[in-house]
C-alpha cells in the first residue's frame, strides 16, 4: 500500500454532488431537497458497494 489516497474515496464527493444537484433540480423546498438527496446518496452508495461486492465474489484474479 503506497501513500497515495485510496481512489475509492474520490467516489464520495462525486456521489454527494450528484445527489444534491439532481435533487435540487427536481424540488424547491429545502427540507425535501435535503431528505431526498440523502436518500439518493445512500441508494447510489448501496448500489456501488453491492456491485463491488458482487465483483469481488466472482473475481478469480488475485
Amino acid at each position: 500500500m503506497n501513500g497515495a489516497p485510496n481512489i475509492y474515496w474520490f467516489i464520495l464527493p462525486l456521489v454527494v454532488a450528484v445527489s444534491l444537484v439532481y435533487t435540487a433540480s427536481r424540488y424547491e423546498s429545502w427540507p425535501v431537497i435535503w431528505a431526498r438527496s440523502a436518500r439518493l446518496c445512500l441508494w447510489i452508495l448501496a448500489a456501488l458497494i453491492g456491485t463491488t461486492a458482487f465483483l469481488l465474489l466472482v473475481n478469480t484474479q488475485s
Binding site: 464527493p13 462525486l14 454527494v16 454532488a17 450528484v18 444537484v21 423546498s29 427540507p31 425535501v32 431526498r36
Partner: protein, 182 residues
C-alpha cells in the same frame, strides 16, 4: 409545468447566466440557496478535477465528431461548466486558424503526447480529474434547466390529497366521463 410561486424572472437570461457561471442564473432569480448549492457542488467538482488533472484535462480539438480517435468527447460535457471551460474552446479555435499562436500563455491548450503520457503514468488522478470535470459540466445541464423551467417536480412540499379528497375526485371524474351512477 412551472410553479408560479417560483420566481424565474427572465428564464432565457437566467439559463444563459447559469451556463456562464454555475449558480449565477439562480442568484439572478433570487434563488440564492440554490445558487450557492449549484456553485459549490459544480464549481467545486470542476476545480478539484482540474487540479487532479494538473490543469491538462480540459482542452478541445477541432476535428470531426466521427473521428472517434481524436474527438474530445469529454469536453462536450466540460463545456457546460461555462466560463471556467471556455478558454479551451478559444485556445483550440485560435490554434486551428493560426497554428502556433497562443492565448493566455497556452492555458488549456491541448497538451503534447509526451505530457499526457507522463500524467497517465502517474496513475489515476488524471482520469479521476477527467471524470470530475466532465460530470460537473453534465450536472450544470440540470442546473441550467432548473433556471430555465423551474424544478421538475415543483416545490415538493405540497400536501398530498387526503384519501377522501382523492375518492371524491375519482367519483367526479367518473360521472363527468358518463360512467355509472348509483
Amino acid at each position: 409545468m412551472t410553479d408560479p410561486s417560483i420566481p424565474l424572472r427572465d428564464p432565457a437570461k437566467a439559463a444563459l447566466l447559469a451556463w456562464l457561471v454555475p449558480g449565477l442564473g439562480h442568484f439572478y432569480q433570487g434563488r440564492r440557496g440554490k445558487g450557492w448549492l449549484y456553485a459549490g457542488c459544480i464549481l467545486g467538482l470542476y476545480a478539484v478535477g482540474f487540479y487532479l488533472g494538473s490543469g491538462k484535462n480540459v482542452y478541445w480539438r477541432w476535428v470531426s465528431p466521427f473521428n472517434t480517435d481524436k474527438f474530445m468527447l469529454h469536453y462536450v460535457g466540460q463545456f457546460f461548466v461555462g466560463l471556467p471551460a471556455l478558454p479551451a474552446l478559444i485556445q483550440a479555435t485560435i490554434q486551428h486558424f493560426h497554428p502556433g499562436a497562443e492565448f493566455l500563455g497556452g492555458f488549456m491548450a491541448e497538451p503534447s503526447a509526451r505530457v499526457l503520457n507522463g500524467l497517465l503514468l502517474h496513475g489515476k488522478p488524471y482520469e479521476i480529474g477527467l471524470i470530475y470535470t466532465t460530470v460537473a459540466g453534465l450536472l450544470n445541464v440540470l442546473a441550467i434547466y432548473d433556471a430555465y423551467d423551474g424544478p421538475a417536480y415543483g416545490r415538493g412540499d405540497e400536501s398530498e390529497p387526503t384519501a377522501d379528497e382523492g375518492d371524491e375526485a375519482t367519483t367526479a371524474d367518473a360521472v363527468k366521463a358518463g360512467g355509472p351512477r348509483r
